[in-house]
């Protein structure tokens, strides 16, 4: 039932980690210039 679950969770974690990091990085960039 849970075969390959770790692969799915790894993909999910990486995708959302990168997207959230992108937002944090750009919010900080906006704070510097705004």
């Amino acid at each position: 039932m849970f075969s390959y679950l770790n692969y799915f969770l790894a993909a999910l974690f990486i995708v959302f980690f990168v997207i959230v990091s992108w937002f944090i990085f750009n919010i900080k960039a906006l704070e510097k210039t705004d």
Binding site: M1, F2, S3, Y4, L5, Y7, F8, A10, A11, L12, I14, V15, V18, I19, W22, F23, N26, A29, L30, T33, D34
Partner: protein, 215 residues
């Protein structure tokens, strides 16, 4: 940031994840690994959509020499490269259990990698220290030329001999509705996320150009 769009993206993405995790059918043999497909394909779609925007804004910049189009192209290129990078990470995560190896040198993978590398070059060009208008001109031209790779990626599954292909060849229309509808919803949720990110990044770049007296 367009707050309403941002909140809508979060709600759609939560709904999307709940649907993918809890309500999509388990495919025999692949099980959870198959669910990576609901992330992988929409990421690829958004990557290509971004590069389409880069090409359009490149053409608009060449026609008008207005830096507004350069900012749109820059924002779309950054998001496209981010998403194409994620495609190149999630693909091998799926392939490791299913193909038994993370990467094979087959046409679609190679052409996608080439696209990613072209855009790495695009960002190197942006940072070599040319003056602002020259950067915009060169990047507009590179953005238009780089887009030529995308039809090659789409055609790659038919373009080269079937013997050297290992990419899934099955048409989406043949998928059962239990897979098709959550997949289409995931496409919609990621497209919405793309526009949220695009508008936000354009705002960040506008603010930077204003600080540097280009606006």
């Amino acid at each position: 940031m367009n707050l309403a769009l941002f909140i809508l993206s979060i709600i759609l993405m939560i709904f999307n994840l709940v649907w993918i995790i809890s309500f999509t059918p388990m495919v025999p043999d692949q099980e959870w690994a198959q669910k990576i497909f609901y992330l992988h394909v929409p990421l690829a779609w958004v990557g290509f959509l971004s590069y389409f925007f880069v090409m359009l804004s490149g053409v608009s910049y060449l026609g008008s020499r207005n830096l507004k189009y350069d900012r749109i192209g820059h924002a779309a290129a950054e998001i496209g490269t981010l998403f194409t990078g994620l495609v190149l990470i999630t693909g091998p995560i799926w392939a490791t259990p299913i193909w038994g190896q993370p990467w094979v040198w087959e046409p679609r993978l190679i052409t996608t990698l080439v696209l990613f590398l072209i855009y790495i070059g695009y960002f190197i060009l942006r940072n070599v220290g040319l003056y602002r208008q020259r950067v915009a001109l060169v990047c507009a031209i590179v953005g238009i030329i780089a887009f030529l790779d995308i039809p090659i990626i789409f055609a790659s599954v038919n373009f080269w001999a079937a013997e050297i292909q290992s990419h899934p060849q099955m048409g989406m229309s043949k998928q059962p509705s239990g897979i098709l509808y959550p997949f289409l919803f995931s496409l919609f949720a990621f497209t919405n996320l793309f526009f949220t990110m695009l508008f936000f990044k354009i705002r960040v770049l506008y603010s930077k150009d204003k600080k540097d007296n280009y606006v």
